[in-house]
Amino acid sequence: MNKRLEMKNLYKLDNIHLNYHVNGNDIKVLKNINFVINKNERVAIIGESGSGKTSLLMLMSGLEKPTTGSIFFNNENLSKISEEKVTQIRRKKIGLIFQQFYLLPNYTSLENVMFPMQINNIKNEKKKANLILSDIGLAHRKNNLPSELSGGEQQRVAIARAISFNPEVILADEPTGNLDEKNTELVSDLLINYSFKKKISLILVTHNMGLVKKCDRVIKLFDGSIKV
């Protein structure tokens, strides 16, 4: 029974602590974080600014290592394996979405969406990218550079880029934080729908309660700890 449960686990965070050493002082960013996230689950992480939400997401994406504790992704301890291995996992299995979009500035929408497929050696990347862009209603903007798109369009391209290579999980950091109401709705629906449609787990940090309600579970952070 336990083994079957473990097979369903996507993430397991075990007694995680994260400290930053700034100007001679230790700042405790995360304290004793323990939780499990299952495959195909949609989890919202909420909390006040400075409560450690983004730091938690950074740990889960392997961009940061915890001070103590272990983060298991598909039973692999991200805090113990090499940086190269973590990069490979991120490249193949984790899609990232940011509040500031972070599209490649010199690449068109199409090229941005194609890029993760190219580095993952996925064939017919152009065709697939075109399909995704049509799906999100941006086929007519495929040859535009990010600087020529609106904020909502940029975030939709970022989502298209994140799902283009069929990752196991999407980690989104305040994906609607920079968007208006209409675009917030559009982007929220896109994320949730894709998560269901492609059976991709979704872990998002957000202040948007509408989006929170669409998730299966909520993890609330307060001053670096999980508030029950």
Binding site: R90, P105, P116, Q118
Partner: protein
């Protein structure tokens, strides 16, 4: 914004940008330091020579003759309008009682010496004693030390005893001679007892004249005296200037390179600064500052840095020059009196500001491209260096002013202009090369490999910046290779001035009946000594193809020396082994009725002489004409016996002559010439090994100076190139951070950087090497008049060093996303 508020803002900004300013300050400072030092040295040396030329000559003019005194009647005629002092110079051996001896140039003076300047002797009254007490001598410090002499001791000159009454510290009228030799002073009354009549003594009679009043001129009867040579103070300064012209020119080229490199550096630093501060500039604009306000802010900041930099560089140069070893210049009797001269400082300031406007104006114009709209879009604009017609016109005018001003201040204006022309041509070449790159890159399509794809995309996207980098790299590397090759050529020339197989001694004034005794004496000293004895006469060229040589040959001709003054001439049955025949045939040794000539082919080329041309010589008062039979390649630098003119032996041997000899001993240090000089007291010698030692010492110092200065310029060149490379590195930080987050491994990013660098830099290195080789060949053989040589290790060392700098720069500018957490960097800006 009113002025006080603006000033407050200006100071605050300056303070905030201090780390960036410090970075660019070093390059500009070092370049201006080199430039200031060269300007100070050049001005001081020229000024000193000009001011001292009358003293260096010893009068308002000098008349000189060889081997015979001036006609007494003429001398009396001169005395009506001039104050005159007669100085007779000859070379001889002085022998101490301890049998130590030394070849010395003896100056015979009269009671009026010196007319101009001061002779500094010790004890102070000894010059006066010399003029009153017969058979006394003043020797220089080196001779005193080498011969172990004390005041009051007796030395022998041509077997005549002289009492040493003092030591010469300095004499005013060096006239460009006595560069390395030792000297002694005796009085005219003592000279009469000496038997100085042989050719080897090279007796020169010099008459230093000071005008009784400014209107006095030389009498017309002077034209009767054909063997008379007249020198003016400007001739002395010209000769001295010529002696150091190449070195000063070399320094000027280096300093020009240095300030151009610093200009490029300033341009790159500004471009990098503006690229990294786009957001800030956009915010300032959004808050109501206009582009003009912001430009004025950066213009004034940069100008302030330049003014401070120029002042620091100039003051540091003054300090540096006052501390350097001045023995390099002591031989010219030049004592550098460095002091702050507002004129010199303004020159430095003028050039630094000119360079700033030439290079930085188009960069600061990009401020116009930064828009407040960028803040809404959350994206930076790609800044492009666009040269409008107006800015091209402005830059061209500034370039012309720069070149014109630099050239007229330089010792060789035309050559300097050609150097700048080379700079402009290569700048255009690299500009077109960068455009050609884009054309080629745009033609590359359907690339599958991800590295090539991203690499080519990056090169295309950053094409404007890559253009700048290619130009910086190209011009920088070409100048560095050029300087390296130039420096290695100068160094080789300096080194090869000291030949390995040079003899140790030159013996002069050997009479025909003394040859056997001389050879025997040399064998006694060292059985294995290598000696060469050749006959020698002295002659003056009267006509060339029946025309007076000075009427057809210009003073600026490289071989003017050949027709000016007396020539030593020898003869030989066979072509000398060290002088291969290059044109014509060697003579038939039985031919005795006609005089045949063999000439140095370089001289013949310069004077446009052909085989079959005739030259008439004045030999001991008789005119003798000869026909040119052949040309030889003569390398005077091997310091063996080399004559520009050889006669056919059957004819020449009938002319009264004496002999000279070179000797190379097995162990020069153990040689004692005491016995030889006792038996052959009239023989004179020059110890070449002493001369070589002194020359070597002098040249080594020059070598160190040239290596140090060019090395320093090459170093700042690297810093500038490295800054240019880091500009592009910094601009790609954001893109590479995103690539890292998307799962692009560290190693892949490194591969990408290397790929892009290779595509960008390999053709630049190859072109710069080819251009610098071609240009250095042209430049060195035409302007430095030395044989060009190419040492592959020089560009190889520069290339390796450059690659090292490149890799380190790229690693440093990319370290942010290679070793640190990528997302936190993005998140925190």
């Amino acid at each position: 914004m009113n002025f006080p508020k603006y000033f407050q803002f200006f100071i605050k900004e300056l303070n905030k940008n201090r780390s960036k300013i410090t970075k660019v300050f070093f390059t500009i400072f070092v370049s201006l330091l080199i430039f200031s030092s060269v300007v100070i040295l050049e001005n001081n040396i020229e000024g000193e020579i000009k001011n001292n030329s009358r003293v260096l000559l010893g009068g308002d003019l000098e008349l000189s003759t060889k081997n015979e005194a001036l006609d007494l009647n003429f001398l009396n005629e001169l005395k009506e309008n001039f104050l005159i002092t007669e100085v007779i110079e000859f070379s001889s051996i002085i022998r101490a009682e301890n049998e130590k001896n030394k070849a010395t140039r003896i100056k015979v003076i009269d009671n009026f010496y010196p007319l101009v300047g001061r002779a500094i002797v010790e004890p102070p009254g000894s010059l006066k004693t010399l003029k009153t007490k017969p058979n006394t001598i003043l020797i220089d410090k080196t001779s005193q030390k080498n011969l172990g002499l004390k005041l009051g001791e007796i030395i022998k000159l041509q077997n005549t005893p002289f009492e040493v009454i003092g030591v010469i510290k300095s004499l005013p009228d060096i006239g460009g001679f006595f560069v390395f030799g030792d000297q002694a002073l005796i009085h005219k009354s003592s000279f009469r007892d000496l038997k100085i009549n042989n050719l080897g003594s090279f007796v020169g009679f010099k008459y230093k004249l000071v005008k009784a009043d400014n209107n006095k001129k030389l009498p017309s009867s002077i034209s009767k005296y054909k063997n008379l040579e007249i020198k003016y103070p400007e001739d002395v300064s010209q000769n001295l200037k010529k002696a150091i012209e190449n070195f000063i020119y070399f320094l000027s080229i280096i300093s020009a390179s240095a300030i151009i490199i610093s200009g490029i550096g300033l341009k790159n630093a500004l471009f990098s600064f503006l690229s990294n501060n786009q957001l800030k500039i956009a915010i300032l604009k959004s808050l109501g500052l206009s582009s003009q306000n912001i430009k004025a802010l950066y213009y004034s900041q940069t100008l302030l840095v330049l003014i401070f930099c120029s002042l620091c560089a100039y003051i540091s140069s003054l300090v540096l020059i006052s501390f350097i070893d001045q023995s390099l210049l002591n031989f010219l009797k030049i004592e550098l009196k460095v002091k702050f001269r507002i004129y010199e400082y303004l020159i430095i300031q003028f050039f630094s500001i000119l360079i700033f406007f030439m290079f930085s104006k188009p960069v600061l114009d990009v401020i116009d491209q930064i828009k407040v709209a960028d803040l809404f879009r959350n994206f930076d604009t790609h800044l492009n260096l666009n040269y409008s017609r107006r800015s091209i016109l402005e830059i061209s005018t500034l370039v012309l002013i720069f070149i014109f001003s630099f050239c007229i201040l330089n010792v060789k204006p035309q050559q300097t202009a050609i150097f700048f022309l080379f700079f402009i041509v290569i700048s255009f070449f690299y500009f077109f090369l960068s455009k050609f790159y884009i054309v080629i890159l745009n033609k590359i399509k359907n690339v599958k490999n991800i590295f090539f794809k991203i690499g080519i995309k990056n090169l295309r996207v950053y094409s404007s910046l890559n253009s700048t980098i290619i130009m910086t790299m190209g011009v920088g590397m070409t100048v560095l290779f050029f300087l390296g090759i130039l420096s290695s050529n100068i160094n080789k020339e300096l080194n090869s001035s000291i030949p390995e197989n040079a003899p140790h001694y030159f013996f002069l004034g050997i009479q025909k009946n003394e040859i056997n005794l001389f050879s025997q004496q040399i064998r006694q000293i060292d059985f294995q000594a290598k000696q060469i004895i050749v006959p020698m006469i002295s002659a003056r060229i009267e006509t060339i193809n029946n025309k007076k040589p000075k009427e057809i040959i210009d003073e600026k001709n490289k071989s003017f020396w050949f027709i000016n003054g007396e020539r030593r001439i020898s003869w030989s049955k066979e072509p000398p082994s060290n002088n291969p025949l290059v044109k014509g045939n060697w003579w038939n040794s039985d031919q005795s009725n006609t005089l045949e000539l063999s000439l140095d082919h370089k001289v013949a080329n310069d004077l446009k002489l052909e085989i079959g041309d005739s030259i008439t010589f004045n030999i001991y008062g008789n005119s003798v004409s000869g026909i040119i039979k052949n040309f030889r390649k003569v390398d005077y630098r091997d310091l063996n016996i080399n004559f520009a003119i050889l006669f056919n032996p059957e004819y020449a041997s009938k002319i009264p002559h004496e002999f000279m000899s070179t000797v190379k001993f097995k162990n020069d240090d153990a040689v004692n010439l005491g016995n030889l000089l006792k038996k052959l007291p009239a023989i004179n010698y020059i110890k070449l090994s002493d001369y070589i030692k002194k020359t070597k010492n002098f040249l080594n110092k020059l070598l160190i100076v040239s290596i140090l200065i060019s090395g320093l310029v090459i170093l700042i060149g690297f810093i500038v190139i490295s800054n240019a490379v880091s500009v592009i590195g910094n601009l790609k930080v954001y893109q590479n951070l995103v690539l890292r987050i998307l799962g692009f491994e560290k190693s892949n990013i490194m591969k990408l950087i290397i790929f892009e660098s290779l595509i960008l830099f390999l053709p630049v290195i190859i072109s710069s090497l080819l251009i610098s080789i071609t240009f250095s060949y042209f430049f060195i053989s035409s302007f430095f008049n030395i044989d060009w040589y190419f040492n592959f290790s020089v560009p190889l060392i520069i290339s390796i060093f450059f690659l090292f700098v490149l890799v380190v720069t790229l690693l440093l500018s990319n370290r942010k996303y290679i070793n640190f957490n990528a997302y936190s960097l993005l998140k925190n800006g």
